[in-house]
Amino acid sequence: MSRSRDPWRLAFARFARNRAAMAALFVLVAITVSAVAVEWVSPHGVTEQDLARARQAPSWEHPFGTDAVGRDLLTRTLHGGRISLLVGVVATLVSIVIGVTWGLVAGWNGGRIDDGMMRFVDLLYGLPFLFFVVLLVAWFGQSLVLLFVALGAVQWLTTSRIVRAETLRIRHAEFVLAARSIGVPTPVILVRHVLPNLLGPVLVVATLTVPTVMLEEAFLSFLGLGVQPPLASWGSLASEGAAAINPVDSMWWWIVFPGAMFSITLLALNFVGDGLRDAFDPKTRR
C-alpha cells in the first residue's frame, strides 16, 4: 500500500518547488473562491439593476464599471466565472470518465480489441466535434447538462490514448504479472494497481483539459449558443463586450475586464498543468 504513495509525495514535493506553478495555483484558488463567494461578499447584488448608473466606466465603487442595465461588472464577472469554471470542471470529469474507461478497456485487453478501439479513436481525431456540439446545442435547447455532456464528449480522445498507453505499460509490469498468476481477480488488480498509477497522468491531462473545455464553452456562449441569460459566463460577457465596441462610446471595460480574468484563469490552469506534468514526469524537458 505504501508503495503507491511514495511517487505521489515526491510529485507534490516537486510541484511545490515549482514557483511559477505554485503562484498559478494560488491565483486559481483565489479566483475560484471569489467566484463562489461573490454572492455573499459583494456590496452589489448580482442582479441588482440601476438604470441610472448604467454603462459607467470603472470607478472606486465599481472597479470594473457597470453594464447595460447598471449591474456591477466586477460582481457579474466573478459570478460568471462560476459557470465557466463549473462547466470546465464537470465537462472535464465527463471526458475523464469516458476516456479512462475506453483506454482502460483497450489497454487491458490488448490485441485486436485494443487495435479496433484505438483505430476508432484515430478515426474520430480529425472530426470537428465542436460543430456537432453547435448543432446539438442550437437545436436541442441550451440546458447546462447538455453542455456538460456534449463538451465532455468532445475531449475524451486524448485521455483515452494516455490511459491506454499507461495501462499497457502497467499490464506488463512484474507485480501485475505476479498478481495475475496467483489468481487475483481482474477488477481487484485494476482498482488496486492500475488505477492508482493512472491518477498521475490523468490528473495532468485533466488540468490541461479544463482550459480547453472552458474555451469551448466560451466559444459557444460567445456565439449565443451556450449559457443563456440570466446566467452569464465569461464567454457570454465577452460577447456583450465585443458587441459594444464602437467609435462613439466604446465601453472598453466590458471586454477588457472579463477577457483579462478569463485569460488569467486559463494561464494559471496551464501553468498548474505544466507544473503537474513536470512533477509527475520530470523527464520532460522544457
Binding site: 439593476q49 447595460a68 442595465v69 440570466p230 458587441a243 464602437n246
Partner: protein, 539 residues
C-alpha cells in the same frame, strides 16, 4: 387558365459543368472583386433577404428590395403613404365594393417585353398557388375563391384581364384598403416569361428581369446586392441614383461602425446599437418616427389565474410603459396606447390611460389576491435577445413593486419560442405585430377565433361578429367605430394583450447630403425619391 408547375426545386438547373466552374469563378471573383467596379452612388443597410421573388417574398428585408426592383399597381406615396398611381393610372370600385377595376399604363419589363394586366393576374395567382408555397398568400385571401385556390381544391379565382390594360378584381368581402394592399411587395408583378423558363433561380443577376426603377446587377450573399438604374422604367427620368448597393449585416454594432467610417450611407435600427441610443439621439443624423408595429405581451387566457380578466387588467394597469420607453428602449419608441399604432389612416385609437396603479390594486384584490398575497408564480416567456431580456427584467421589477407579485423569466431560442407560443404552452409571452397594410383591421383581426396569430386561447363570438361587420361595412365612419370597439375589447375590457410600446423607425443618415429619406410608418426606402443634395447642380 392554369399555370404549369414550376420546374423541380431540388437541384439547380445549371448543367454539371457549371458546378465546377462556379466555385472557381467565385474564387477569382472574391480575389479580384471590387477592383474594377464603379463605386455605388448610395449604400444602405438591409438584412440579407430570404428571397426577392415577389411570388414568395414575406419579410421587410426582401420587401425593401422588391419594392425597388418591381413596381406594383400602386405605390405608397410618402409621407402619409397613401396609395398613388404605380403601373395603374387609376382605379375604381363597384357600388357594392366587391369589384375593383384598375386601368394600367403601357409599360415594359427591363428586357423590353411588354407588361400587361395578364402579368398581374398570373403573378397574383402564383402567390396563391399552393405549389409556390408563398408565406404571403394570406394577403390575397380577400380575393374571391382565394382560400380554396390556395388549398388546391378549386381553380376559380376572381382575377381577370379583359384586355392588356385593364385588371378586374372580384372580392369576397369589401376590402377598403385594397389600393394600399396593391402596393405591397408580394403583389408586385413577376415576369412570367423568365420564371417559366428558368425556374427557382430566376432572381439571380444573370436571369432577373424587373419592371421597377432598378435591376439587380450583382448579388453576393450576406455581403451586398448591387442595383442598377433600369433604363426601361416608365418613370426613369425621376430617378437620381444610378448605382445603389444594399449592404447586408447582422450585427448592430458592426453595422454602425461601418456607417461611421463612411462605408454605408443609411442605416435603420439594424445599425443602431441599443447601448448608443442616448448618444446618437442628439446627433443631427438621427431621424426617427413611429413604425407600424406594436410590442405587447400575450396572455394565455386558458391558464389560471390569467383566465380571470381582472388579473389580466391588473397586470396591464400596473405596467408602466413610459418607464420602459424612457429608460430601457430610449430610441424614440412611444408607449403603446392600444394595439394599433398611431398614424394608421382612419383610426383614432382608444386613447385611454393604461398605467393606473390604484386601479391595478383594486382589480387584483377583487380577483382574490389583495396586495399580491397568494398569487401564484407566473412565467414571462421571451425569445433570446438582450433587448427583450432588459424589458422583461424591468417588467418583472414593476410588477413586484406595484402589485407585490413575483414573475419568473424564461427565454428560448427563436424557433423554439415560436413553437411554444403556438402550442400555447406559456403564461405570458412577448409578442409583436407588424402591419402588412395601413389599416387597423390588419392588427385587430388576428384575435378572431381560430386565427393562427391569435395564440392566446381567447375567443369571443361578439368580437368575431364585430370584425366581420367591419369587413362588410362601406361607411368609413361606422367601420372606424366598429374597429375602435374591437380595440377596446382586446386591450381594456378583456386585456388579452398588454401593450408596451409602438416600435419606432430609427434611421441614421446625413440629411445635408441626402434628400428623400424621411422615415415613414413602414420604414420603406423608396429609392425613387432619394437624391443627393447638391446646391446648384441638377442631374
Amino acid at each position: 387558365m392554369s399555370i404549369p408547375a414550376p420546374p423541380e426545386p431540388s437541384a439547380t438547373t445549371m448543367p454539371s459543368m457549371h458546378r465546377i466552374l462556379v466555385p472557381i469563378l467565385a474564387l477569382l471573383a472574391a480575389v479580384g472583386c471590387s477592383a474594377d467596379e464603379r463605386p455605388a452612388d448610395f449604400r444602405f443597410l438591409n438584412t440579407e433577404p430570404e428571397t426577392i421573388d415577389p411570388g414568395r417574398v414575406g419579410g421587410q428585408a426582401g420587401g425593401r428590395i422588391v419594392a425597388n426592383l418591381f413596381e406594383g399597381l400602386t405605390v405608397r406615396v410618402p409621407p402619409s403613404l397613401a396609395p398613388g398611381p404605380g403601373i395603374a393610372t387609376d382605379w375604381w370600385t363597384s357600388d357594392d365594393g366587391l369589384t375593383w377595376t384598375f386601368r394600367l399604363r403601357s409599360s415594359t419589363w427591363s428586357d423590353g417585353t411588354p407588361l400587361t394586366a395578364r402579368d398581374f393576374v398570373w403573378s397574383w395567382r402564383r402567390v396563391l398557388d399552393p405549389r409556390t408555397a408563398s408565406k404571403s398568400a394570406q394577403l390575397l385571401f380577400p380575393v374571391r375563391g382565394a382560400r380554396k385556390f390556395n388549398a388546391g381544391v378549386s381553380d376559380d379565382l376572381g382575377l381577370f384581364a379583359p384586355d392588356d390594360t385593364t385588371l378586374v378584381v372580384e372580392l369576397e368581402t369589401p376590402t377598403p384598403y385594397l389600393a394600399d394592399l396593391a402596393a405591397a411587395p408580394p403583389l408586385a408583378p413577376s415576369p412570367r416569361h423568365v420564371v417559366e423558363k428558368v425556374g427557382e433561380t430566376w432572381t439571380r443577376p444573370e436571369w432577373i428581369v424587373s419592371n421597377g426603377p432598378y435591376v439587380l446587377d450583382d448579388w453576393r450573399l450576406q455581403d451586398r446586392m448591387r442595383l442598377q438604374r433600369n433604363p426601361r422604367y416608365w418613370n426613369v427620368e425621376a430617378i437620381a441614383l444610378d448605382v445603389v448597393e444594399a449592404v447586408a449585416g447582422d450585427f448592430a454594432n458592426a453595422n454602425f461602425n461601418r456607417y461611421e467610417s463612411g462605408l454605408i450611407d443609411w442605416v435603420d435600427s439594424g445599425g443602431v446599437p441599443p447601448a448608443l441610443v442616448d448618444a446618437l439621439k442628439r446627433r443631427p443624423d438621427w431621424h426617427s418616427g413611429p413604425f407600424l408595429a406594436t410590442y405587447f405581451l400575450r396572455c394565455n387566457v386558458e391558464r389560471p389565474p390569467l383566465d380571470d380578466e381582472r388579473v389580466r387588467r391588473a397586470l396591464s394597469y400596473a405596467l408602466d410603459a413610459e418607464a420602459i420607453t424612457t429608460h430601457v428602449t430610449r430610441a424614440g419608441q412611444v408607449p403603446a396606447r392600444g394595439l394599433v399604432p398611431p398614424g394608421v389612416p382612419g383610426h383614432d385609437g382608444i386613447d385611454a390611460p393604461l398605467f393606473d396603479v390604484e386601479r391595478a390594486h383594486s382589480l387584483l384584490a377583487a380577483a382574490g389576491y389583495p396586495g399580491g398575497e397568494g398569487f401564484p408564480s407566473l412565467t414571462l416567456l421571451f425569445n433570446t435577445s438582450e433587448w427583450h431580456r432588459q424589458i422583461a427584467e424591468v417588467l418583472q421589477q414593476q410588477w413586484r413593486e406595484h402589485l407585490g407579485i413575483e414573475i419568473e423569466l424564461l427565454n428560448q431560442e427563436w424557433k423554439v419560442f415560436t413553437t411554444t407560443v403556438r402550442a400555447r404552452d406559456y403564461d405570458l409571452a412577448r409578442g409583436s405585430w407588424i402591419g402588412d397594410v395601413l389599416d387597423a383591421q390588419n392588427f385587430l383581426e388576428i384575435f378572431t377565433t381560430g386565427n393562427g396569430n391569435n395564440r392566446t386561447g381567447w375567443s369571443s363570438a361578439r368580437y368575431d361578429a364585430l370584425i366581420a361587420s367591419a369587413s362588410r361595412t362601406r361607411d368609413p365612419e361606422r367601420r372606424a367605430a366598429l374597429l375602435r370597439e374591437c380595440e377596446r375589447m382586446v386591450v381594456l375590457d378583456d386585456a388579452i394583450i398588454l401593450p408596451v410600446y409602438v416600435y419606432s423607425v430609427t434611421n441614421l443618415y446625413d440629411d445635408t447630403q441626402w434628400a428623400g429619406l424621411e422615415p415613414d410608418l413602414l420604414n420603406s426606402l423608396d429609392l425613387r425619391r432619394v437624391r443627393p443634395v447638391r446646391t446648384g447642380v441638377s442631374r
